[in-house]
């Protein structure tokens, strides 16, 4: 029988993988994808708690998280493009200057 604990554990595994991606990788786009992974795992936690507590409020919050993630992706990728125009790299250790 699959309970709430299963879903929350899966959510925490996915969240930790996202954290690990941000910590380990030095490619700006991969770090960005890891952030999406973390947002997605939080969505999973919201929906599972909403389902097991018989309330729909959690699902409404997932709508907002998805919207914020879409906005964040649009702005973040625009930032990556403008950084790349300034200095053609996506390796964050090479982007260490305050002045371009």
């Amino acid at each position: 029988m699959i309970g709430l604990t299963h879903y929350l554990m899966l959510s925490s595994i996915l969240f930790s993988l996202g954290v690990l991606g941000v910590l380990l990788r030095r490619n700006l786009l991969i770090i960005f994808m890891s952030i999406e992974l973390m947002l997605n795992s939080v969505n999973l936690a919201w929906v599972s708690i909403a389902n097991f507590s018989n309330r729909l409020d959690g699902q409404i919050f997932v709508f907002f998280v998805i919207t914020v993630a879409a906005a964040e992706a649009a702005v973040g990728l625009a930032l990556i493009i403008s950084i790349f125009r300034l200095k053609p790299t996506t390796h964050i250790d090479e982007l260490n200057q305050l002045k371009g």
Partner: protein, 165 residues
């Protein structure tokens, strides 16, 4: 009931393996495709959690719009394989692994300790999108309107940032 259990395990294993692919593969395009697979698997989990509308939204917005944006940017920047997977300089890799493991332990211990006695699976078939709409357009109307404003700001910001000066 048994079908739900099978679907849960298939989707959860797929999402975790795909997430590992995302953070370990050196080719950004394959990472993006693995992230797509992970998002699809989570959409399948939403179906087992009786949220079919959210599963559709997940596929449409995340897998449709956001991932297209990602792949478009990767192709626009013409990214190649990373020369090395993890940067050797700075904080050592083992310490970073330990930090990630610490986050996992810190998240999982409270979950495993809690009994969740209130957690009751709802009666199947009670779900209806109209309940969701009533909640969204009644109790959460103000956040909904603010979301539209956020999207407008993000759109203007994206255009301004990516524009050639």
């Amino acid at each position: 009931m048994a079908l739900e259990v099978i679907l849960f395990w298939i989707c959860s294993v797929t999402s975790v393996v795909a997430a590992l692919f995302v953070i370990l593969h050196r080719n950004p395009i394959l990472s993006a495709l693995a992230l797509l697979a992970s998002l699809f698997a989570v959409a399948g989990l939403f179906i087992t959690l009786q949220a079919p509308f959210l599963a559709a939204i997940q596929i449409l917005i995340y897998a449709g719009a956001v991932m297209v944006l990602f792949i478009f940017v990767i192709m626009l920047l013409n990214l190649q394989k990373d020369p090395e997977r993890f940067a050797p300089q700075g904080v050592p890799v083992t310490l970073r692994f330990a930090l990630g493991l610490w986050v996992f332990i810190g998240l999982s211990i409270p979950i495993l300790w809690t009994a969740f006695t209130w957690a009751m699976p709802p009666t199947p078939g009670a779900y209806s999108v109209s309940h969701l709409a009533e909640l969204l357009f009644d109790q959460y109307l103000l956040p909904f309107e603010l979301t539209s404003f956020l999207l407008l700001v993000a759109m203007v910001g994206g255009v301004v940032l990516a524009k050639k000066s």
